[in-house]
């Protein structure tokens, strides 16, 4: 038990928390942008899988990590466009089309993996990058400032997305479109174009979340490797009240409990492993149930825009 309170353990738990948060940050922040414009993209998981595969495939074949990132963004944006086409232009039921996107991503990434690479292999992904100076702070230094590049990028996206949504005309338009598309339309805001843009960006970010697994955290691609992360990422957007900082805090809490449960098992505290692995999910359900406010929810979320119909 006392092993849990040593500095090594503390550093380890924090380090795990930050690393575990990364794919969620990419995916949830992208989903936040998309949902703030009124589009629920439930296909995040599928876009993550395609991003994970695209990045991994490019790194395997060319060795270029940058190429991998570009490939993930490209493929994610493409799937985002497809999602926008279905849910914005065709005005399909967003929950259903999201499930379709998930199944497409799951199936297509598995199929392409089999056709091209075929068997499990590993790549040299993004290495840990210790920030000079900062990483030598005791306990916090190695926990916070010794991560791969994509981890820093993911956290840097939080203030960037917050700035975009709250301080720019773009953000204002996104929020207007998500709260009252009819009013926004009468004011000349291009509702359809904005929703296309947010869902496309959201897709690209989800794909980056996948890439952060396949070419940074795990350095392997395997079929269905995201294992539900994309769905939790959508839940964490609700959890965080559709605000980037809130979403980040929710992700950190979820990741902290995920990291903690591994350490709890490791130090042999005596709780059954089946119970330990459930902890983060139980926590999410409790937090979602207790969260009192729905005030941040975009009023037009999941409602397709149809000019002339209120």
């Amino acid at each position: 038990m006392e092993q849990l309170f040593t500095l090594t353990t503390l550093t380890g738990i924090l380090h795990s928390t930050i690393r575990l948060a990364t794919p969620y940050l990419f995916a949830s922040l992208g989903e936040t942008i998309s949902q703030r414009s009124g589009v629920l993209n439930l296909g995040v998981e599928g876009q993550m899988l395609m991003g994970a595969f695209a990045a991994f495939f490019v790194v395997v074949t060319t060795g270029s990590l940058l190429g991998g990132v570009v490939a993930a963004i490209f493929v994610g944006a493409l799937l985002g466009l497809l999602m926008a086409l279905v849910s914005v232009s065709f005005r399909a039921e967003q929950g259903i089309s999201g499930i379709g996107m998930y199944l497409l991503g799951l199936g297509l990434s598995s199929l392409l993996f089999r056709l091209t690479l075929g068997s499990v292999q590993s790549v040299r992904g993004f290495a840990e990058l210790a920030l000079p100076g900062l990483s030598s702070i005791p306990v916090l230094g190695p926990a916070l400032f010794k991560h791969s590049l994509l981890v820093y990028v993911a956290f840097a996206l939080v203030p960037m997305v917050a700035y975009l949504l709250n301080r720019t005309t773009w953000g204002l338009n996104i929020r207007a479109v998500g709260d009252n598309p009819q009013a926004a339309d009468t004011l000349g805001v291009p509702v359809i174009a904005i929703r296309y843009a947010t869902v496309t960006v959201g897709g690209a970010m989800a794909a980056m979340g996948g890439a952060s697994l396949s070419i940074s955290a795990v350095n392997i691609f395997q079929e269905n490797m995201t294992g539900g992360i994309g769905f939790i990422a959508v839940a964490l957007v609700y959890f965080g009240g559709w605000r980037p900082v809130g979403v980040m805090l929710g992700i950190l809490l979820f990741s902290l409990v995920s990291a903690l449960q591994i350490w709890l098992q490791l130090v042999g505290i005596g709780i059954p492993s089946d119970l330990a692995v459930m902890l983060p999910y139980i926590l999410t359900i409790i937090a979602l149930a207790l969260a009192p406010r729905r005030t941040g929810q975009p009023a037009a979320l999941t409602r397709p825009f149809n000019r002339g119909m209120a």
């Binding site: 590993s122 955290a217 795990v218 392997i220 395997q222 294992g227 591994i262």
Partner: protein, 344 residues
């Protein structure tokens, strides 16, 4: 409208009739056993498994065995293998088992403990088809089944031997285990591994974690990172999820001991040895029994003694010392002769 509707009905009836006729010659009465195997129909096997045939673990071990028997029997003409991969959803697996049973397969393999209930339901409806499932020890004989084989792996035995190797390799005297679900052959392997480590270095720290999933690669990777952060320099783990852990171990230079299938191809520099599940002997015996008319009733077990379990060193790994080799041989002999008791 009416006319077109009639046409559709006629076309449908025709289609059904044609299908029925087409199906008839394909299912001739089984020819009486003669000494003319050349003209015989190929032996038809179907397998339903939870991950892919290239998972470097559980499913691949079974497929490798089937393919080697197929090659030995004379290829596709002598043996046909149908595979359903990624059946992590038991409902889908149940449907696949039923399809295979009705499609004229002589042996249907439900490769996963979780398929047991569904497999017995299908086996009851197809008494003329032989079924095999594992890891399990129940052939359903008590319930009157005569068409079910079961197979088990005494994974704790190779786990013990891997533990001996791990203890000899570890300089930090901390080893980490990336477990999937605390059950079945995974738990047996892990408990055996711990016992093996402690048999060499009783004061070692053996850290165990379970991800709660057989296939969650990312969770296994995180568990491996945690073990390394906690000081482990030798890791092991079980199920198809381990590729994630091996990726991390490779990145951080920790050593790896494998089980089920060889994982050396993934990380030749760090994979030291593997406990291989060799199902070839079991499958050959099952096929021979089926061809002789016995469709079930035998519970098989892979052990070091019967050769179903093999400890295979990775020849590309340079750190295997003669002492290690000797300790492994001693452990294998001890387990085979019963001098060492490995508790599952």
């Amino acid at each position: 409208m009416f006319k077109r509707g009639t046409l559709v009905v006629v076309a449908f009836v025709l289609a059904v009739l044609l299908t029925a006729c087409g199906g008839a010659p394909a299912a001739p009465a089984a020819p009486a056993a003669t000494d003319a195997p050349v003209a015989a129909e190929p032996f038809k096997v179907a397998v339903v498994m939870p991950s892919t045939e290239t998972d470097l673990a559980w499913s691949q071990a079974m497929i490798d065995a089937l393919r080697s028997i197929q090659a030995e029997m004379g290829g596709e003409a002598a043996m046909q293998i149908s595979i359903s991969e990624n059946m992590f959803n038991v409902t889908d697996a149940a449907a696949a088992l039923r399809d295979y049973a009705s499609a004229g397969n002589q042996l249907v393999i439900a490769h996963g403990t979780q398929y047991g209930t569904s497999m017995f339901e299908v086996a009851r409806d197809f008494p003329e088809v032989s079924f095999a499932w594992g890891t399990a020890t129940d052939t359903g004989e008590a319930e009157g089944f005569t068409n079910v084989f079961s197979y088990n792996a005494s994974a704790e035995e190779g786990g013990y031997v891997n533990g001996v190797i791990a203890a000899m390799l570890s300089t930090s005297n901390v080893v980490g285990i990336v477990g999937p679900v605390e059950a079945g052959d995974a738990k047996a392997y892990i408990d055996g591994f711990e016992q093996g480590v402690l048999s060499v270095k009783p004061d070692s720290t053996v850290n165990k974690t379970y991800t709660g999933s057989f296939g969650d690669t990312a969770a296994a990777a995180e568990a491996a990172s945690t073990h390394i952060a906690a000081g482990a320099d030798v890791l092991t783990g079980s199920a198809q999820q381990v590729v994630g852990a091996i990726g991390v171990a490779k990145e951080r230079g920790a050593l790896w001991l494998g089980t089920q299938s060889s994982q050396a191809s993934l990380a030749p520099d760090i994979v030291v040895a593997t406990q291989l599940y060799d199902w070839t002997g079991v499958l050959k015996d099952i096929i021979a029994k089926i061809q002789a008319g016995t469709l079930g009733g035998t519970a098989y077990d892979l052990t070091l003694e019967n050769g179903g379990l093999k400890i295979v060193f990775n020849s590309a790994f340079p750190g295997v010392t003669p002492e290690m080799q000797a300790a492994v041989d001693t452990a294998i002999q001890g387990i085979s002769s019963g001098v060492i008791t490995v508790l599952p």
